[in-house]
């Protein structure tokens, strides 16, 4: 059985309209993959940057997977939230990235988007905040049936991921 280590961190986010941000993350894999150790989902602290617009989280990711097949390569999905001064939370962006398949150190920039509602909801978003959210968050990483969805581009989340592969060459996999 081949093994995969993902070691890295969610560095931070930039380009969002608000700056007091936190992030929920998770990893989705196919059925052939089994988690040996590590946490597959989590949430960062709320970070409000002092100067500059980038919010830093430096949230660790350390996972060890074993797999019987190549289908369903791990995908990392993210939700970026904003917490305002009253403690209310508001969704700012959904994003996803494939865990790189080649071993080594990768600097990943994950772009995010937010669903855009009707014009009434957009008006409410400007004055009150809030906004529509996905009913099933698995749409972030499934990609099927996105045709009717209207979104708006938001910021980017930066990640540093180190990928270590073991025994993949034994099965004739080049990645």
């Amino acid at each position: 059985m081949a093994e995969l280590h993902i070691i890295g961190q969610i560095v931070g986010a930039t380009g969002f309209p608000q700056s007091t941000l936190f992030c929920k993350w998770g990893i989705h894999t196919g059925g052939a993959w089994r988690l040996l150790s590590g946490l597959r989902e989590g949430q960062t602290q709320v970070d409000s940057p002092h100067n500059g617009e980038m919010a830093f989280w430096s949230h660790p990711i350390d996972l060890h997977y074993t797999t019987k097949g190549l289908q369903g390569w791990p995908k990392l999905h993210l939700q970026v939230w904003h917490q305002d001064s009253f403690g209310r939370c508001q969704l700012l962006g959904y994003g996803y990235c494939h865990v790189p398949s080649s071993p080594g150190h990768h600097h990943v920039r994950c772009v995010t988007w937010r669903p855009l509602g009707s014009w009434q909801e957009q008006l409410a978003h400007i004055f009150v905040g809030g906004g529509p959210q996905l009913r099933s968050p698995d749409l972030i990483y499934s990609g099927a049936d996105r045709y009717r969805l209207h979104t708006v581009a938001m910021g980017t989340v930066e990640l540093e991921l180190g990928v270590i592969l073991r025994h993949f060459d034994k099965y004739g996999v080049e990645s």
Binding site: P100, S101, Y141, G143, A144, S175
Partner: protein, 258 residues
């Protein structure tokens, strides 16, 4: 593992962003073309449509973020008709469209992308063009009424599917440069031949080591390994020895009595 002679190609891809288009509310329609000798699993779809994304300004350009996942698996079988023919790789055709206020679409750009032949992580940016109808009237129509010229066959972007001839001519066809689309592709190749290749490489390395005898560490390791091998052989011999002795005595005994 795929059967011998077949290369399995897995692509985990992502449509990241589109940049520099004229109008807002962009979406991308894409499909994959498999050349001859390639096949794929019957249930997986080789096409898709992203969500519609409103752009935001980043630097000088308007950027739409899709972060749209797609993945597919395909198989290549080498047929030995011509020895020196290089395999053709799958091609991804895509089309950028924009929605207007009345939910009508206009074409914003056409492009294509050949799936990289080397395994690993690739970030690719493709520039696109759209067919142009000359004159201000056409532009005004595009703005007010909608309806711009579009390609009947998307494979015209590269080599048209119906093309037969010596040289491809696009004389008389006018286009306009539009924006660019960024893709990230993780290609994984899987074949039985890679296992043999990697063991061959290892054997060659060990031969080199033996010839060179470079480092002290290497020679110490070799000595240790030789010692272990000798020890194992001795242990095997010792285990098999008494049984042989017993066997010989038992077979010898009846003969002596008889």
């Amino acid at each position: 593992m795929p059967p011998p002679g077949i290369l399995r190609l897995l692509v985990n891809g992502e449509i990241v962003s589109a940049k520099g288009y004229e109008y807002d509310n962009l979406y991308i329609h894409f499909f994959l073309e498999l050349p001859n000798n390639w096949s794929s699993l019957p249930f997986q779809s080789l096409s898709g449509v992203t969500q519609t994304c409103r752009t935001r300004t980043l630097g000088k350009d308007n950027v739409a973020f899709f972060s749209y996942p797609f993945s597919f698996e395909s198989f290549f079988r080498k047929e030995d008709r011509k020895e020196d023919s290089l395999p053709q790789w799958p091609v991804l055709y895509f089309e950028v469209l924009s929605l207007d206020f009345w939910q009508r679409y206009r074409t914003e750009g056409y492009g294509y992308l050949v799936i990289p032949a080397t395994p690993g992580c690739h970030s690719l940016t493709c520039s696109t063009w759209r067919p142009l109808q000359g004159g201000t009237v056409a532009e005004l129509r595009r703005f007010f009424i909608g309806g711009a010229p579009e390609l009947e066959d998307s494979s015209y972007v590269r080599v048209p599917g119906t093309f037969k001839g010596d040289r491809l001519s696009r004389f008389g066809f006018r286009t306009e440069t539009t924006g660019s689309v960024t893709f990230i592709l993780n290609c994984v190749q899987h074949a039985r031949a890679f296992v043999d290749a990697s063991t061959l490489k290892k054997r060659r390395q060990s031969v080199l080591d033996q010839l060179g005898g470079f480092s002290q560490q290497g020679s110490v390791y070799n000595v240790l390994e030789a010692f272990q091998r000798a020890r194992r052989r001795m242990q095997e011999a010792r285990e098999s020895l008494p049984r042989d002795l017993i066997n010989t005595t038992t077979t010898l005994a009846p003969e002596s009595t008889a």
